[in-house]
């Protein structure tokens, strides 16, 4: 119970500091933020912007005002020549695309990595084990954007098997949607497969030396049943944690992969915001991503202790 309160406190602290950092990003801009955000507009627009962003207020007041807007769903505006457009409008469309990409990649990675990890652990040191390990080591040295570019060019353009770019909504055509997401998801998943496989293999090898495995074997259970029913579950905890921690890798990767495959997700939004110097938008987008990431990690942590009572008590 105490532990839960402490964790909640830490979560609150982390959220506070993360939002503080992002909320003050605009203040970090060299020079007058209003000049930077609206370089070509007239002084009246800038005055309005200063008012809106509370640039003349002291920092704490500015943070409170920003936070108040943020939690009520007001993520600021895009400031273009003539139009100002709320950032929130775009986020609603973009966030699902990024989420889809990350979920597909994560599911794909686990679907491939779990069988590979189990099989290689069964014959640790064998040919397949060595081959899979060496391949995994090589895959880890391929940046996912390189893989994305290569796949998009060779599979998408040269072979023409899958669309090299573009996005199809799930509601428009499910098959086309999956086709448009296939190459991005594979690019993002490949590195994760290597990590997950090595991790699960290590834990499985350790678990397979436990007494209860010997017991299960002695009872005459089939090898298959021992592996999948008795050994996999206690071996999957580290995998679960790392899968959670790796959401950060996925987020970073997804941003770039989206740009390469021109998927209209958060990465593309951030990319556009950067190239158009929309700092207010950058601020909100980074805050949203960071908060999402923190919450996922907390969820993983809770799930983790729920799954394994030993650890729940031992970790204190």
């Amino acid at each position: 119970m105490n532990n839960a309160i402490r964790k909640l406190g830490q979560l609150a602290l982390v959220l506070f500091l993360v939002t503080l950092f992002t909320a003050l990003l605009v203040s970090l801009l060299p020079g007058d933020p209003a000049e930077v955000i609206i370089p070509f507009g007239d002084e009246r627009d800038r005055e309005a912007l200063r008012e809106e962003l509370n640039l003349d207020d002291p920092l704490p007041a500015r943070y409170v005002a920003w936070l108040g807007d943020f939690v009520t769903g007001d993520f600021g505006n895009y400031y273009r020549q003539s139009i100002t457009e709320p950032v929130g409008d775009r986020v609603g469309d973009a966030a699902p695309v990024s989420l889809q990409l990350m979920v597909y990649a994560q599911v794909l990675a686990l679907l491939v990595a779990i069988p590979l990890g189990v099989i290689t652990a069964q014959r640790a040191g064998g040919f397949l084990d060595k081959f899979a390990n060496t391949t995994a080591f090589g895959v880890l040295a391929v940046p996912n954007f390189v893989l994305a570019l290569v796949l998009s060019y060779f599979v998408g353009v040269e072979l023409g098997w899958l669309p090299p770019q573009g996005y199809v909504r799930i509601s428009r055509d499910l098959v086309e949607h999956l086709k448009s997401m296939a190459l991005p998801a594979i690019s993002l998943a490949a590195g994760q497969v290597a990590v997950y496989m090595r991790l699960l293999r290590t834990d499985m090898v350790a678990t397979l030396q436990e007494d209860f495995i010997l017991m299960a074997k002695a009872k005459g259970l089939s090898n298959k049943r021992v592996l999948w029913r008795h050994a996999l579950r206690p071996s999957s905890l580290t995998l679960l944690t790392v899968a959670g921690l790796n959401v950060g890798t996925l987020v970073g990767g997804a941003l770039i992969i989206e740009i390469i495959f021109t998927l209209p997700g958060m990465g593309t939004l951030i990319f556009q915001a950067i190239s158009e110097r929309q700092y207010v938008a950058i601020q909100s987008l980074v805050a949203l991503i960071a908060i999402g990431y923190v919450l996922v990690n907390v969820a993983v942590d809770l799930l983790y202790s729920a799954l394994d009572p030993r650890i729940r008590n031992a970790r204190g």
Binding site: P30, T134, F137, V139, P143, V150, A194
Partner: protein, 317 residues
């Protein structure tokens, strides 16, 4: 140290909070011998080559960066010819020359960034792990906040904010990218240093040193640091690999080292090669990607060897 970066995943593996210590047989098969082996030597030779390219590109018999070879343009054939083993880009420039000259910027950014992260993160980690208590709580929480933002997103944000001055010169932009990557790597480097410091800070020889009246800075530098150094070194190797990849990622996002004929980096060669790729010329992307691949592979391998050799306990977090 999460990320665009498949290699960053290695660092994630190194920090599963509350993981169960695996019993033996954990290291990668190829690195288990704890000796360098043939692959290890190949990795070192490759890195020396890369270092030479970065330090003295004039050693390598490649054409000047600005030189264009009109023959390739006339025939619209950018493939390899004699004297140009990698062929040309779509403006008729020698690709090998671009790779060699692009090494310096990539190396400067990644090595400096990790050094920066290591000096600051390492110092904080040492202090947190040695003094424990309240200092530790504060520093660890600060690291956790840093880790709460994916590394690429943090680097991207910093680079975007500090590069907002459109008139910034080349050197300034390189500095911004270096700082952004370095700052974003502080938390993970710091956390690993702290974890390793914790396991050394209460050993007998440290207590002995304390007993004979050594001052705290001396204990930290002469007793604790040398024991933590192998861990820091192995994580620095992995960190440099990650930084090389992040540099490429930032370039693709448009906030990397500015692309220019005379100032290539591997990252911006990949980024600018993208448009050539859409025209059907994948040469530049493939060439620069290959450099990144072998360099990252070498660094990862050597990092693993160092880790195995010094029995670094990365799961002691």
């Amino acid at each position: 140290m999460p990320e665009v970066e498949p290699t960053a995943a290695i660092l994630d593996v190194a920090t599963p909070s509350g993981s169960i210590e695996p019993t033996g047989d954990t290291e990668l098969a190829v690195a288990r011998t704890k000796r360098l082996g043939v692959i290890g030597w190949l990795a070192i030779i490759w890195l020396v080559l890369v270092a030479l390219m970065a330090a003295v590109p004039s050693l390598f018999p490649v054409p000047e960066l600005t030189e264009r070879f009109p023959d390739s343009l006339r025939n619209r054939d950018f493939g390899p010819t004699s004297g140009h083993p990698l062929g040309f880009d779509t403006s008729g420039r020698d690709l090998l020359s671009k790779l060699v000259h692009g090494t310096r910027a990539s190396m400067i950014v990644s090595v400096l960034a990790v050094s920066f992260g290591l000096v600051i993160g390492g110092t904080l980690g040492l202090i947190a792990g040695y003094f424990r208590g309240r200092v530790d709580t504060i520093i660890t929480n600060a690291f956790n906040v840093g880790l709460a933002i994916p590394q690429l997103v943090l680097a991207l944000t910093l680079a975007a904010v500090f590069a907002s001055d459109a008139n910034a010169g080349y050197g300034q932009r390189v500095l911004v990218v270096t700082f952004a990557i370095g700052f974003a790597s502080i938390p993970i480097l710091g956390r690993i240093t702290r974890a390793n410091t914790l396991t050394w800070a209460n050993r007998e020889f440290v207590l002995a040193s304390k007993t004979i009246g050594a001052k705290t800075p001396r204990i930290l530098i002469r007793e604790v640091l040398p024991n933590v150094a192998p861990a820091m070194f192995s994580i620095a190797l992995l960190g440099i690999a990650v930084a090389i990849v992040v540099e490429g990622g930032l370039a693709l996002l448009g906030v990397g080292i500015p692309a220019d004929i005379t100032s290539p980096s591997w990252g911006n060669l990949i980024a600018t090669g993208r448009s050539q790729m859409l025209l059907g010329e994948a040469g530049q992307v493939m060439a620069a990607s290959t450099m990144v691949f072998f360099t990252v592979l070498s660094l990862n391998y050597l990092g693993d060897v160092v880790r195995a050799r010094f029995d670094v306990r990365e799961s002691a977090l």
